[in-house]
């Protein structure tokens, strides 16, 4: 991938170059500190309050800066970078509107525990509180959606604050940290001395679990006749996919992975049951409802997984492994709480884990459900089916792409029909459900993974929420492959209005959207349109082979629904099977 032709120096060279104590401006301190924290690519948008920072970046080539076309694009890109690499994503915006445009992205990362360091400029300290031009209290605005935040008052505090921010963002339960830098602080000169220690009395995440609790879990497994593992994003975030594989293989427990846990366990495995919850598989939902032991590994019992809480896993003894103690017992009463990092917990558990011997009949039952009730749809040779499109994308990328999605029906179809076998290959906004996330997050994922194919699956609604970032793909030749599943409607809302509001379709018609092929071409991105299987496959293959970014619009019918579906107020045992029956 040729981006802006920047040759990055080796990390050691950079550390040597930038660690020297020197009197420099706050802006230079910021850049040096970011480098020392390992930043490779920063996404941002300049403005008045960050002028000094951007001035310091003039001619600076030791990390890349990608100029997006909207701050929301910048933060979603940083998010996609972080989710797909495990490193901290960094973005920069100016004060006021620049900062407030980041809010949705911060909330998105917060809900899904994604490590970001978000840098905003602010008006000079003497103007703070005066309703100055482009002033917004971004620290106050984002307090509920950041893991922590800083308003920097002196340039000399910057090295410590930046080091702490990276540490907080990417440890414990990960999350976004905001650093708000007033303009005078970014201009102020100070003696820069790198900081390598963190001294935070109020922050000591529990990594190593209590062994007694882990032993309790192991004993419960030996007794269980119908055990189920529910694995979430925590498996991926702690890098515990191998440990999970070992644990499942040793114990022989059927496993379901949540939307954020997809890729944490190989989907082809005989013990994998697919996704649970609102659009989960028959097998996963039925297994949870029948289970006598439910082991939650790094998931948070989100309401889209549990649906109606009263009646969720009614027969199960619950084990909950989570690095965040506040998640344990928050929604589901838990008999065996285990606080710790998923990887550390599973390593300890694997040392003593034995096969769940009493569960042979259960494993047979689960296999039978899997065989008789797989996710299904009615295919057609006349009209293009979105599920078929996703399957075709899976087949042509050999299941090996990084897939980012937007939010809605296509997201669920992607989760159902793009089975994943490795972690950090799935980038989707689960908790906040942010439309507009899919496409810019793919740009970040591609920047972090220049050697992998990155596919972004979007709907025609969400694509229009951040379509402007096509520009940066074209300008920097970022070879993201964008699929737009165009059903000319807000599909998930349509589905709810059909099923829950008795076909009263209210404000969901997206007819009159731009011609996506022309739109892409206007930005200088190669584009195709397909309305049948033959066109779809050949356009998609051509897009994959194209060395740069490419967009393929798949025109599908509007009245396709996502099944299975559990409606609000029902337990996950009560699924509408629709076409999949």
């Amino acid at each position: 991938m040729s981006t802006q032709g920047v040759t990055l120096k080796s990390k050691e060279e950079l550390i040597e170059k930038w660690s020297k104590p020197e009197v420099i401006t706050g802006s230079d301190v910021l850049l040096r500190s970011l480098l020392l924290e390992g930043a490779e690519c920063v996404f941002g948008y300049p403005g008045g309050a960050v002028l000094y920072i951007y001035d310091a970046m003039h001619g600076f080539t030791d990390f890349q800066h990608l100029l997006t076309r909207h701050e929301q694009g910048a933060i979603h890109a940083a998010d996609g970078y972080a989710r797909s690499t495990g490193k901290v994503g960094v973005c920069i915006a100016t004060s006021g509107p620049g900062a407030t445009n980041l809010v949705t992205g911060i909330a998105t990362a917060y809900m899904d525990s994604v490590p970001l360091v978000v840098i905003t400029g602010n008006v000079a300290t003497s103007f703070i509180g005066t309703d100055a031009f482009q002033e917004a209290d971004i620290v106050g605005i984002t307090m509920p959606i950041t893991k922590h935040s800083y308003l920097v008052r002196k340039a000399e505090d910057l090295p410590r604050i930046i080091h702490e921010a990276f540490h907080i963002a990417n440890s414990g339960r990960k999350g976004p940290v905001l650093i708000d830098i007033p303009k005078d602080v970014s201009a102020e000169k100070t003696l820069f001395q790198p900081v390598s220690e963190v001294n935070l009395r109020g922050y000591n995440p529990t990594v190593q679990p209590n062994k007694m609790q882990v032993d309790k879990m192991l004993r419960a497994i030996e007794k269980a006749e119908k055990p189920v593992i529910l694995a979430g994003g925590g498996v991926i975030y702690s890098g515990a996919h191998e440990e999970l594989y070992e644990f499942v293989t040793k114990t022989g427990i059927p496993t379901t992975t949540t939307l954020l846990g997809l890729g944490g366990f190989p989907s082809g495995n005989e013990l994998h049951m697919g996704m649970p919850g609102m659009h989960g598989t028959y097998t996963a939902n039925t297994a949870i409802q029948s289970a006598d032991l439910l082991i939650n590994i790094g998931a948070r019992f989100d309401d889209r997984v549990t649906m109606k809480l009263k009646g969720f896993a009614p027969h199960a003894k619950v084990v909950h492994i989570d690095i965040d103690p506040a998640e344990i017992g928050k929604n589901v009463p838990t008999e065996i709480p285990i606080v710790g990092d998923v990887k550390a917990v599973l390593q300890l558990a694997n040392a003593g884990a034995k096969r769940a011997d009493k569960a042979d009949a259960w494993r047979a039952q689960v296999s039978q459900w899997k065989a008789t009730k797989p996710n299904k749809y009615k295919d057609s040779d006349v009209v293009l089916k979105p599920q078929w499109v996703v399957s075709m994308i899976h087949e042509t990328t050999k299941g090996d792409a990084i897939v980012t999605t937007d939010v809605g029906q296509h997201q669920m179809w992607a989760a159902q029909y793009y089975p994943l076998n490795k972690p950090r290959s799935w980038v989707t906004s689960g908790g906040l459900g942010t439309m507009g996330f899919g496409f810019p997050s793919a740009i970040g994922a591609q920047m972090g993974n220049p050697d992998r194919t990155v596919v972004s699956i979007n709907g025609d609604g969400g694509m229009q929420m951040c379509a402007q970032e096509l520009a940066i793909c074209a300008i920097n030749n970022i070879p993201v492959k964008v699929a737009i599943i165009n059903n000319q409607v807000l599909g998930m809302v349509r589905q709810w209005q059909e099923i829950i509001h008795e076909n009263r379709y209210s404000h969901i018609d997206l007819a009159g959207s731009p011609d996506f092929v022309k739109l892409s071409e206007a930005y200088g991105v190669k584009a195709f349109r397909a309305s049948n299987k033959e066109e779809a496959r050949s356009a998609w293959l051509e897009a994959l082979e194209h060395p740069g970014p490419a967009v393929v619009e798949f025109v599908v019918r509007k009245d396709e629904n996502v099944y299975p579906m559990v409606t609000a107020g029902s337990t996950i045992g009560e699924m509408l099977m629709g076409d999949s029956e």
Binding site: G140, M143, P144, K147, L151, R201, P325, A326, G329
Partner: protein, 161 residues
């Protein structure tokens, strides 16, 4: 079962820390009956005392969520053990000279104090647990309460806890 809990929180004395703590209560739907903040035994740390109502599950969530704030050093469920809880109330009442002896009688019984005497008003200062202040207010109501200000409870566990 809902009951009253008194929680002490040791926090970094940083700008915005009160907003972090009170904001957390607000957005998670935990109620704050009273809140007091002041310096603690350690320079750089403040102690907040919050009185909240909820069941045991809520109390557990409050504590766990508070610990997630980086500026929170320690959370203590003070009411979980024998404690001393004290509040100060200032009560300004209408008090013509003729009514004053009677009022002073009440004040003395409560071991409260009159801290200001105006031409037709008195300010009574009362210190004690919340119930004592409630009782004092009840007794002074007939004289006409012009202004009332309560500090909220500050609290500490008894003995070596």
């Amino acid at each position: 079962m809902n009951r009253k809990h008194t929680i002490a929180i040791l926090v970094n004395d940083q700008p915005g820390v009160l907003q972090r703590v009170s904001g957390l209560f607000g957005r998670r739907g935990f109620n704050i009956e009273s809140i007091t903040v002041g310096s603690s035994e350690e320079p750089g740390l403040s102690r907040m005392v919050i009185v909240t109502t909820g069941d045991d599950h809520t109390l557990e969530q409050v504590q766990k969520q508070l610990y997630k704030l980086i500026d929170v050093i320690k959370v203590i469920d003070v009411s979980g053990n024998p404690m001393v809880g004290r509040e100060l109330g200032l009560i300004k009442i209408g008090a013509e000279p003729s009514a004053r002896p009677e009022i002073l009688g009440i004040v003395e019984t409560f071991r409260a104090a009159v801290v200001d005497i105006g031409p037709s008003t008195l300010i009574v200062q009362v210190v004690g647990d919340s119930e004592k202040i409630d009782a004092m207010i009840e007794l002074l109501k007939p004289y006409g309460i012009r202004e009332l200000s309560r500090t909220g409870v500050t609290a500490m566990n008894r003995g070596f806890r």
